[in-house]
Amino acid sequence: MNIVKEPFMPPSIERASTSGLDAAAVLAGAPVALVVVDLDGRLRHVNSEAERLFGLPSTDAASTPVTELIGPPPGEDRPIDVQRLEAAGTTTHPLLGPGAEGIGKRRDGTTFPIHFTARRCADAGVLVVLVRDATAYQHEAAAQRATDERVRRLLETARVIPWEADVATTLFTYVGPQAVEIFGYPLEEWYARDFWPSHIHPDDREYAVNLCATATTREKHYEFEYRMIAADGRIVWIHDIVVVARWRGVPQLISGYMLDVTERKRGEEERARLLEETRRALQLRDEFLSLAAHELRTPLTPAILRMQTLRRLLEREHARKDLIQGVDYASEQLGKLSALAEDLLDVSQITLGRLALRREPVDLSQIARAVVATFGEALDAAGCRTTIEALGPVEGSWDGARVEQMVASLLSNAMKFGAGAPIEVRVSRDARVAKLSVRDHGIGLASEDQERIFERFARAVPLTRYPGLGVGLYVAHEIARVHGGSIRVESAPGQGATFTIELPLEGGR
């Protein structure tokens, strides 16, 4: 920020006289204010520019103590004597260069800020003092000081380390003092060779150094994050913002800010950990559900077999009707329980991503006929006269059992929501896909429900009317999806619904 100017050189009287010039005339006519003081601190001569500046004739000035002309700057008591005059060259004014500040005293009693420099002319036994009116600079200097202070405060108080480095030597040329507080290393260590790479976390070192090298050659500005190791072994996460300064296209200086983002990173890591924990808990839950569903299903098969056997025995023995009805009722409940366990197993398998397909050559028309035949009695009971339109075999490589499950799900859905009205099942194909649609004439679906009904545990109607897990369409949707196919519905409230399954003919995924 400092504007360093060339130091002012007082004119050399000795050299002027040896070259044959009239030294006194040169001194008098010099376009700067010059005051000659003997070593006792009394004025010997004041040139015309100085007379103008201080408002006094030269004759009056002789033998006057210099302290009557030049005073110390405001706030200082020590007078400007010969020693202080001589010492003036050792300090530097931010705008005016080497010299000291003081107060110029005019004859009329007024004062003005001055900047002065002195040099002893040993042979002549005098000091030549160059005095400049600093009035114009005073405000500027104050403003400059305020700005410098503001910038310094900004740079050096935030938890941010400003820095600058030379590209050629890879050494830091400036590192903000905050580095000491954040990392704990003495500031001077930062300027040593390889300080930066050797204090990066070993896991990030190669990445950070390479990125910095590459980006410096290519970018104007770049940002990256890495870990550094503090003096006490702490890991400090740094977000580094870098600006590249070039000369004739070649990077010269890089500068930037290291932001300590350790807290943010800790938050991120904590979030990631919680997410992973949640994911693991969900996985465990799904594993448990899968195991539970499997275990629930296992005893149901023999129980149903036993019940069917019991019924046959009772019939053969011409048992009472209410006994047979009791067994039928129990069988029906076991069947429902079995279906629920199957639903639960399917959903848990899908959630765990384990819905595996066992592909085999399958005829979709044949499956449609088989499912409708299986549902025969139930369809009759629901009052759904069901027709199948299938011109011929529509064969593909699919999981037969799963396709059957999809069709059964659509048919049971149609029967449930379209009771008392006919159902049309249609199988067709084009060049790419096999299609199976089930059309009912039931209550239909509002458009907002049409996407939702394929979601897990979604229901378009209240739970109380149609019991069950409500996963049939979700499972069907997932079966179609893992086959590389799709399932969709076209419907309007009161207009019935047409569900269409599409399966790829070329084996799909």
């Binding site: 005893p299 098969t301 149903i304 077999l305 036993r306 056997t309 066992r358 059992a401």
Partner: protein, 126 residues
């Protein structure tokens, strides 16, 4: 008890509950049911009992799988022609069982089992 083609049915199934339930159902119908809990036991049973009219065979079993059991009896001149019906949740897996006479999908439906038994053994009559 007589059947058109013999009354003995061998069930080779590792799940005790399913095995016993099936055996019970077939016994109620009048069949003579023999049981084994894996392929190895199945082979031992075959050496000890009257030639069965039907074998109901599970595929996934410990010690000796259904496929290995099937391959073993196909090597055996006297047993090569025995009708074997596979019990499996997957039709594709059942298709790998070369030489099986048929396939019953699990979970097993009793009506289907009885139809199969009648087809291969005939209806038992006393």
């Amino acid at each position: 008890m007589t059947c058109a083609r013999g009354c003995t049915i061998l069930i080779v199934e590792d799940d005790r509950d399913i095995r016993e339930a099936l055996a019970s159902a077939l016994r109620v119908e009048g069949y003579d049911v023999q049981i084994a809990s894996n392929g190895k036991e199945g082979l031992e049973k075959l050496a000890a009992i009257e030639r069965p009219c039907l074998i109901l065979l599970d595929l996934m079993m410990p010690i000796m799988s259904g496929l290995d059991f099937l391959a073993a009896i196909r090597q055996h001149d006297a047993l090569a022609t025995l009708p074997v019906v596979i019990l499996s949740a997957y039709s594709a897996l059942a298709k790998e069982a070369q030489g099986a006479a048929g396939f019953i999908r699990k979970p097993v439906d009793l009506d289907v089992v009885l139809q199969i038994a009648e087809r291969y053994c005939g209806r038992p009559s006393s």
